[in-house]
Amino acid sequence: MENNIKKIEIITDYAYLRMLTKLLDDNEVSGYTIIKDVMGKGTRGNKDGHGISGGFKNCYVMVCCSEEEAKKVSDIIKPLLTRSGGMAIISDAHWVVHS
């Protein structure tokens, strides 16, 4: 399995999803995947997912890319995540199929 890539997974407040994707788009990140209904618990308390009162729901964004691109993505998301809370992790993977 050639084609080593990095997988970045971001979990943050749902309210910030629009900003996060704008950031990725503006920086020409070629692809990402979003899951909108994500709950959880962290240092900022319980996100039990009740939509109407805002601030209790997360989103999940995954970016698969080369190691250099991963560095760029890490850099651009850090300030936003510092502001919005949440977390991001990176791990190794390989393409099976990619257009």
Partner: protein
């Protein structure tokens, strides 16, 4: 007094308590999230459209202008004095977010209050819905402005993005989904002809109370969940959540009295001043003041002020309104008799 209890042993209110009880008893009852959002949009659409139609009927007159003027004024003044009270015990971020909540309004409290007139001939005018729509956003701006002024930390990093941020905040304040639906439906109601009103009547009228019951069940569930977070908030904040509505309602009452608002309008104006936002404001605050703790400002508005208003506030404001405008009670009774038939 009767007419108050009257509203208490009838849907939609008891469903709120059913929701709280279910959660406190550890039931797994939950309303799917998208359904909550749907019903919330439905309620805003219905109340907005209805208000627009009524506003169209009444037209622009002095009472309407006064109501709208004082509504905006209260939405600016309440968060200001709330902030200075709250700042004594809370961080600027939390104080600002909570102040913004109280300066804004709760559409569901407003709608539940409208129930008091559902069988009555005297009804609040469409201008009250317009007032509600106008009161949603200003408090958000005030809250953010206070926060910016009084927070001390990281001025360096902040200042260079404060400009772009303000655009964002205006967007959050005035283009929040619920504000847009409420205002948009108001305008559509305003321009709608009789045909349009007939068309919408069953959707916004007949099933409205049932949908509200369902939504209050959900509100009860969420309030039940948030109650636990109140320990975190502390006594000061809880006391604020109960006393502030009374203070705001009193000021609202004085304005309504001095400006000679009609009975139903007086009552509804008190309700608007007394209620606190737990939908539009928290959504904006997450972006505008991320340092503020939603574990504080949401539970106070949702699990303290909302139930307080529903249980004690509305009857009290109604009772006070009756003292000045006894006709609203009589009309309500007449209407009931007319409907029930004896």
């Amino acid at each position: 007094m009767e007419s108050i209890l009257y509203n208490f042993f009838a849907p939609p209110v008891p469903f709120f308590f059913l929701g709280i009880i279910a959660i406190l008893a550890h039931s797994d009852l939950e309303i799917p999230e998208q359904i909550s959002k749907f019903i919330s949009l439905y309620l805003l659409m219905a109340i907005g459209f209805k208000g627009g139609v009524e506003l169209h009927a009444s037209g622009m007159n002095t009472q309407v202008a006064l109501v709208l003027f004082f509504a905006i004024l209260m939405a600016i003044v309440i968060p200001l004095y709330s902030f200075f009270i709250l700042k004594r015990k809370l961080s600027p971020a939390n104080a600002a977010a909570l102040a913004a909540s109280f300066g804004s309004v709760s559409a569901v409290t407003f709608i539940t209050a409208s129930n008091f007139f559902s069988t009555s001939i005297a009804k609040p005018g469409g201008e009250m819905v317009a007032a509600m729509a106008l009161m949603e956003s200003p408090a958000i701006i005030i809250g953010v402005w206070m926060y910016r002024k009084y927070k001390k930390v990281d001025m360096g990093t902040q200042s260079n993005r404060s400009h772009s941020d303000f655009k964002e905040i205006f967007k959050e304040a005035f283009l929040n989904g619920s504000v847009v639906v409420l205002l948009g439906s108001l305008v559509i109601g305003l321009i709608s002809n009789e045909h349009g009103q007939e068309i919408m009547a069953p959707f916004i009228g007949a099933i409205f109370k049932g949908m509200l019951s369902f939504f209050l069940l959900d509100m009860g569930i969420v309030a039940g969940k948030r109650i636990k977070a109140l320990r975190e908030a502390g006594f000061f904040v809880i006391a604020f959540g109960i006393l502030m509505p009374l203070v705001n309602a009193t000021i609202g009452f004085l304005i309504a009295y001095l400006c000679n608002f009609s009975g139903p309008n007086m009552f509804m104006f008190m309700v608007l001043c007394a209620s606190a936002s737990y939908i539009a404001v928290p959504a904006a605050m997450r972006i505008a003041i991320p340092d503020a703790n939603p574990g504080i400002y949401v539970p106070v508005a949702l699990a303290i002020t909302f139930p307080f208003n529903i249980i004690a506030g509305l009857p009290l404001y109604y009772y006070i309104t009756e003292l000045i405008h006894p006709e609203i009670l009589i009309q309500a009774k007449d209407a009931v008799e007319a409907i029930v038939g004896h």
